[in-house]
Amino acid sequence: MIYTDMVCPFCGCLCDDVVIETEGDRVVRVDNACTLGTHKLMTTRKDRLKGPIMRDGAGGWRDASYEEAIEYAAGVLLDADRPLLYGWSSTQGEAQGLGVSMAELLGGVIDSTTSVCHGPSILAIQEVGHPGCTLGQVKNRADVIVYWGCNPTEAHPRHMSRYTTYADGFFLQNSFRERKLIVVDIRKTETASIADEFVQIKPGGDYAVFSALRAIVRGRGAVVPPTVAGVTKEQLEKIAEICKSAKFGAFFFGVGLTMAPGRYKNVRNAIELVDELNRHTKWTLTPLRGHYNVYGSNEVFTWMTGYPYAVDFSRQIAFYNPGETTSVDILARKECDACLIVASDPGAHFPRKCLEHLASIPTVLIDPAQTVTTPLCRCQIPTAVTGIDASGTAYRMDGVPIHMKAFLDLGYPTDTEIVGRIFEKVKEVRHP
């Protein structure tokens, strides 16, 4: 079978032009997707658990039924004084919504992988807003592109060909020639090597460079010292000029800003630079989101609770304070006494300090495959992969909602189904 216009369940680009060929329940060919997407689609059957597994109480593992695993999951969540429900970025929106309702009824904390990715970007947006646009707007109009603290070549391999450097658009018939590319990073990445202008900043210097650019753009460059974080004033002036004379500028940034010292203040400064540039010409800004549906988790959490991530329902109202209600902090402070992880792999992506606590409490993992988190949990429930054997909604990094289509049936339940069944058990005990 050949399936066209399929949606890739890898990164926040959410490419929807993928062609997939199957023979029986095997994928034999993938066209249009990048290396990352192709690999995910081609190897989808490998490493998947056959069914739920649980610790056997004797230092090993045993197989379990879905019913038993669901019962166990509901039990540990109900017993907890501070359950944490973490993950939610690589799953369908429908499951995310159920997760929020369950966290609310349980009096738990629900958080998504946002907190270790673009959480700081959201904190910045909450201070100064977000001048953004859809990616097609960039493709059709942008004549200056900035990639700052990100490396799309490695992390979002089709970003440049679909939306920026290599993508022709309505107002740019020969994109590669007509667009200027500025790359800013602390190391010379692959993306930097094709830039018209590469700005190498000393680690921790992003904030200062943004401040300097803002001052230069508004005509107060005289105040700026001759070098700022390793960048000459001359180069800063040149960059400012390119930006001001753009017809449409598009600023993309990655975790290079959100993870650097100052965190969200770097992003805030970036946004305020873009605001300043809008006094001269058109500029937009977009965070490069990692997981294909991390933005969906922010959207769903927001309309249901008012907050995009890190929502604490322990008092039956929604409370939000990243740094306090975020997963890394809660785990590092050993606050939570049970954890449900859905569609993410903190074992691979959380600091060791957090994992030590995760391994010491009843942790349940809902994930199709064996992951780094598997050894840390007490029970794992495999599910279908959205975009492969489950359908559902995902939000692209620019907020465009896309329907993910299933093309295989491998007999696994969906995340929505499993979270829903756990929720039903929870409701039996804690009547709403």
């Binding site: 995910k40 490493d47 998947r48 902090d329």
Partner: protein, 133 residues
């Protein structure tokens, strides 16, 4: 020697994301990219092993020369190896020091552990799945 410990995405790490029990993933995430001049200072060659010590512990990685990495900094693909040295400080922002940790690095003869060994070291229990048809 002290280094700034920078972590981030690579294609190889990304490819391994959905098949983390494989050796490819371990190989892709246990690399420590370092400026060749720093490698000379440490007297190591490509493929040699390093022990990296951070606030939460230490981990053994293999070194890879990388011209683009500034001196005094190492780049390690994000994943269980990089995280094995990191603590839980987020500066009140929810985001740990993935890119801003200072670490101590020295050459070692020790082997690079497997991902499972890393997890067992912090209290996990390895799971071995029977072969799938």
């Amino acid at each position: 020697m002290r280094f700034l410990f920078n972590t981030g995405r690579t294609v190889a790490q990304g490819i391994g994301l959905d098949r983390k029990s494989g050796t490819e993933y371990a190989g892709a995430t246990s690399r420590c990219m370092m400026n060749p001049v720093d490698m000379m200072d440490l007297d190591v060659e490509s493929g040699d092993h390093l022990v990296v010590r951070g606030p939460a512990g230490e981990v053994v990685l293999s070194v890879v020369p990388a011209e683009g990495t500034p001196r005094g900094m190492v780049f390690v693909p994000l994943g269980p190896y990089a995280n094995h040295v990191l603590g839980g400080e987020t500066h009140g922002t929810g985001m740990p020091d993935f890119k801003t940790q200072t670490v101590e690095i020295e050459p070692t003869e020790r082997e690079v552990p497997t991902v499972t060994e890393l997890m067992e070291e912090i209290g996990g229990v390895a799971y071995e799945q029977g072969a799938r048809p």
